[in-house]
Every structure is written in structure tokens, then in C-alpha cells.
Symmetry: C2
Subunit: 151 residues, 2 copies
């Protein structure tokens, strides 16, 4: 349903939590406790986020995790790309190495990239800080009429 995976959702939650506890060093079990997420999953996610350069890890006995940069400089798009993989709506847009069987007759060919670019732009303009700051408007935008539909 054009929904991101649970993992990505959790990833953003973790980063937000790290942002709130910054600049403290937090352990994986600690984060699991403060967010309420299952510990093994948290550990797995932190590895991925470390690999993507979004959090810094400190190994050893008194180790833990910290944000790699200011939360203002981490966009939601980056997190999605780090966990869910590169943001590509259709197979046509990404590496494009794979052949599209119906490419010759496809009436829109490479034009998905326009949609893709719009999405990337929208996601790159929202930072983790905006999602994490407490005290900001919490209410959902009222039904945000525009695209929402039945089903």
C-alpha cells in the first residue's frame, strides 16, 4: 500500500530517540527499553544505520551509539534509503540494468523518474529533528484532502 516497512519506521523512531538523548552514549538494549521495540530488532537496525553513516558506534565494554550528525542534517529520505534500499518506485527507474519486457510498447517509458524525483525531493526536505522535537503540533493534518481515498 505504498507503505514503508516496519524496519524503516523503527529506524526513524530510533534516530529520534537518539536525538532526544543526545549527546549521551546509548546502548542497544537501552534504546530497546526506551522505545519499547524488541531488542534483537533494535540491534539489527543499529548495525544498518551505522553502516549507512547515520549513527556512530563505540565498541567495547562501555560502548554504545550516538547520532553521527545533527538531527537537522538527517533527512527522512536518507533513513528510508538506508534501510529500505534506494528509493525507486518502479523497476524502470533504478539501475535500469534489468530489461523491461514491454519497454518498446510501454506508453510512459522513462517517465516514472519524474514521480520519483518529486518523492525524493519531498522526503529530503523533512529532517529527523522535525519528527523528534517534542512540543510541536502533534495532531494529524486534518484528513489532508487531496489524495486520500476509500478502499
Amino acid at each position: 500500500m505504498l507503505r514503508l516497512s516496519h524496519l524503516t519506521d523503527y529506524g526513524v523512531v530510533l534516530l529520534s530517540q537518539l536525538a532526544q538523548e543526545a549527546p549521551a552514549l546509548v546502548t542497544a538494549p537501552g534504546l530497546a527499553a526506551s522505545t519499547g521495540l524488541p531488542a534483537p530488532t533494535v540491534a539489527k537496525l543499529l548495525k544498518v544505520l551505522t553502516h549507512a553513516g547515520l549513527v556512530s558506534s563505540h565498541r567495547g565494554a562501555a560502548g554504545g551509539y550516538t547520532l553521527a550528525r545533527s538531527p537537522v542534517c538527517i533527512s527522512v529520505g536518507e533513513v528510508i534509503a538506508a534501510i529500505d534500499g534506494p528509493l525507486a518506485l518502479t523497476a524502470c527507474v533504478e539501475g535500469a540494468v534489468e530489461v523491461c519486457k514491454v519497454e518498446s510498447s510501454c506508453p510512459i517509458r522513462g517517465r516514472w523518474s519524474k514521480v520519483n524525483a518529486a518523492l525524493k525531493h519531498a522526503l529530503s526536505e523533512i529532517s529527523i529533528a522535525e519528527l523528534a522535537t517534542p512540543g510541536s503540533p502533534v495532531h494529524d493534518m486534518p484528513a489532508a484532502s487531496g489524495v486520500a481515498l476509500s478502499h
Copy 2:
């Protein structure tokens, strides 16, 4: 990977094809032939699109399908919503009837809706007509630096 389902992709292709053949009445097998997509799938999709009010159906011997409105008035977001379901990135945003176990400790609570709204807006501004018009720039936007990453 934040990728939409094949069905949705096909749906946009079908609408684009219908737009190009407008205002002719096209049969389901006809569309399957002109797009190169499997016939049963095309039939299934057309039912859904009809239900969503995006295409008009004419039953009977000389029946077929047509676009319900001008392709300029059909946004990509609508198509996605019709096929993939309502556009909601996380479970927190939609009906919200279901309970989020970690809601109390979740550091971002209802704030996903901001991202959601941004996406909806971006998708509602691109029409089928823009994807279907032949002769427009076909080349992918050059790597659209911004969010794209490894993986």
C-alpha cells in the same frame, strides 16, 4: 523498498494508453495487446479502476473502456490510492483505529503524518497526462542527487 506494486505500475500504464487512444472505446484484450501486459491482469485492473471512478466501462457486445475524465485531471496519487490502497506510510497514520503498542513511549507519535502529507502533495501534482504525453523529455533526470544512496 518503498516501491509500488506491479499492479499500480500497470495501472498507470493502462491509463496512459487509454489517454493516447482517447476518446476511442478500447476492450480489455485490446489494451492487453497494445501494452503487452498479460490479459487477465489487465482485466482485473480495469475492474478496480472502474470501481475507483477513473475509467468508464461500457458493457455488452461492442463494449469497452474509456477514461472517465481528462487525463490532466487524474493524478498519480489517485491511481496509487485506487490500486494500492490509501497512501499511508505507517500504520500510525491511517484509520489509526489499531493500537500502537509503543505509542506512549514513541518519540514521534503522530508526526509521521507530516511526511505523509508531503508525499500526498507531491503525488497529487503529477497527472497521468504528464506521464503519457509523447515527445516530452524521456531521459531520466540525471541521478537526481538528493536522496539516492548505495545499497
